[in-house]
Amino acid sequence: MAEAGAGNAKRMSMIVTKGTLDWAYPPFILATTAAAMGLEVTMFFTFYGLSLLKKKLDLGISTLGNPAMEMPMMGMHMKMPNLVSALPGVDTMATTMMKNLIKKKGVASIEELRQAAIDSDVRMIACQMTMDLFEYKPEDMIEGPVLGGAATYIETATKSEINLFI
């Protein structure tokens, strides 16, 4: 995989720290769009964000501690009090609702966006420390991302016009 900063294109890097279905969207949308606009993009996957590099994605959302979340339902918007969020099955239900909305509104799946990122040569770094910490096996992860640490990311960040933490 090429080092960041080889060409003359502008560069963008991002640190991807979250692994829920809703939080998986911003990094992959921005990475694929930036690549489509000619930028060299690097994504550093760390902590819960690292789960987005698993071969088999099983992403869900949690309504707990997410007070701004509201889902359209029968012409209204439904909010979820924390007390209800804590009940068994509520997150599963909310995830199903979100996935149905995604399909209905023509929003890409995370699998599709991740493949688009790979196809457009987005450089991916998997955090080695997180691999050790959460005991992820290399064979459970997609092929392509390089293993690296904070210094690998920082080197890229110093050469990038845009650096995001998501």
């Binding site: 949308i29 694929t32 769009t33 489509a36 606009m37 000619g38 023509g106 929003v107 890409a108």
Partner: protein
Amino acid sequence: MTDQVLDAKGLNCPLPILRARKALNGMASGATLQVLATDPGSVKDFEAFCRTTGNELLSSSNENGVFSFVIRRTG
């Protein structure tokens, strides 16, 4: 008439842009692509996309909620 037409109707951000990029990649310099989309955000997005990539946005129109963008591959 454009050289190629891309139907991105019903697709949401960022898919119209991603599909357009893919289509443009396979086209010769100077060729034109018409993109049809229903995502209202695509109006601003295709302007920004063309400005950034150096491709020429020849026209942008809206007919009954279907947006049409004609892009000449120059970037």
